[in-house]
Symmetry: C2
Amino acid sequence: MVVSLKDIAARAGVSLATVSNVVNGYRPVGEQTRRRVQRAIDELGYSPNLSARHLRRGRTGLIALAVPELNNPYFAELAEVAIRQAAELGYTLLMENTAADRATELALLRDAQRHPIDGLILSPVRVGRAEVLARTADTPLVLIGEGVYDVPHDHIAIDNVAASRTAVAHLIALGRRRIAFIGASPGDDRHSAQLRLRGYREALSAAGLPAYPQLVAPTERFGRRDGRRAMAGLLALDEPPDAVLGYNDLVAIGALRALTEAGRRAPDDVALIGIDDIEEGRFSSPTLSTVAPDKDEIGRLAVRRLVARIEGGEVPDPFTVQTPFVLVPRESTGPAGGG
Amino acid sequence: MVVSLKDIAARAGVSLATVSNVVNGYRPVGEQTRRRVQRAIDELGYSPNLSARHLRRGRTGLIALAVPELNNPYFAELAEVAIRQAAELGYTLLMENTAADRATELALLRDAQRHPIDGLILSPVRVGRAEVLARTADTPLVLIGEGVYDVPHDHIAIDNVAASRTAVAHLIALGRRRIAFIGASPGDDRHSAQLRLRGYREALSAAGLPAYPQLVAPTERFGRRDGRRAMAGLLALDEPPDAVLGYNDLVAIGALRALTEAGRRAPDDVALIGIDDIEEGRFSSPTLSTVAPDKDEIGRLAVRRLVARIEGGEVPDPFTVQTPFVLVPRESTGPAGGG
DNA sequence: CTGAAAGCGCTAACAT
DNA sequence: ATGTTAGCGCTTTCAG
């Protein structure tokens, strides 16, 4: 049987409003009354009907985190943090998979999702500044992790250009000279791929190294198999690279596999580095060097920011936060022969 | 601005009920009327307020998938399938992380989650038959993937005993004789760990091989680092194993890393096999042999079954489905020296 | 085929 | 400190 406020009110001999106040603490309630109501609640096992509450309040208590791939451990790790933070703030977090699909991202921006939500955290990869600016939906929006800048929304991201510059500088410091980049975006979209490519070029140029176009390998998507295929291509060159930056750790791990299959070794023949710091990279052989964003910080900040927007009040203007990152050298770029 | 049924009704000059019928198709509507209403809907950009609908219908359109680790790629892959299937059936799927915590699992069984849901898919690891039987909540429940049998609920799982028997038989067929199992559950819970251990023992016994107790390594949890620690322990034995079955792929990958760190090789020194067939195992070096459950089937079936229960109608009695699995031999158990 | 109206359970404004 | 009540937006029964 399902008990409602009314049942509690009847049992405790008080009005609906009083029960509601005991439950929500919106108005003070006398100690005696409170106890009686609480007892009725416990005895009858009442829990509020959230649909009714939501209808009345105009809010659902639900926020969504939309990411391009659920399967990517980076996003799984991020989701874990975000879910916890959301729960702490009294919200439930819904995972949404855009599958890196432009239409899906646009639909989300338009608020056209199946379930009503109070706010959206979006990791956009196929929409850019223009589409975000054109948005008319008024559900609060927080952007994470990609390169859509200068829009009137909160945005939490690492500095993609600096991250990839750091990675390449590390390779250069180790004496590598023919450095490849795997995971350029073939089209105009996937903004972060372009930013990471830019960082790669900047690092080369800063070191006075030539940029060989054939060492920039585009990929369709950004998973392990894409990294493997691209690396196989690079190894088939007359002069293969002596180091590789992968767009992310997954791509780098795919590249590592291609290397192994070709009978070459990292870091001896080719040094490898990725970006993301997924746990997998700590257990590969060799372990994978990477640039580690602060996932905890990103996840927590995104949720807190969004909830602040939803609940209104004294919220500063939308702003972009660049969260810190650190270089994590591991075996795949270690001194050759180390291992 | 937010448009409601009333706005559409006014615009189209019809009653609320008619608009509702155009939207839901619950009763037939005249062609003329339908067109007029549809135009109003398009012009004003109406979309139903789901909180109101849910309040009225007594359902939320939300189902939850509760798993012990979001981070485990096996569950991420499963979630991806389940989310898609749910969407196809008009439901939104909520991910819930039990963190393999008994209290959390019990709370879910009691329907004590933050958000109201129409049904629950649970992968229980710390509760057993008794707790499930004691459940009084009437939200439909589908169990997946673990060893809670003979309860009046739908249950989708592989045959854990058979799966691990198959894995060990494979190792034996390759000539291995000192076979270890990593990932025994230290306590009484984590039922599936016990089932897989049983399969391991059955396979040894069927082949007339001795079961060395020191080759059964318990782990606290079931991640990569647990596998690594346990393997390091096994390698320190006077007579280390010549093959290892990991409770799951993650544990096996951790074990593989420990092997590499110890300067030994798979499969030459120790053959390795896991269970789950996560993508990571196709890219490790060596690639990881495994027993592959049909994740697509499990995810789809679980959701379909749950939705059938929710929507009532002609639903057969609760039943257990054992989904198929296949042995996937890869390099980690390949002929020694093969690569 | 269409309309009127009740009411799902709750919160919050208005009374007392 | 507590009670009364309108109404959130929708579905669905009852009338016509």
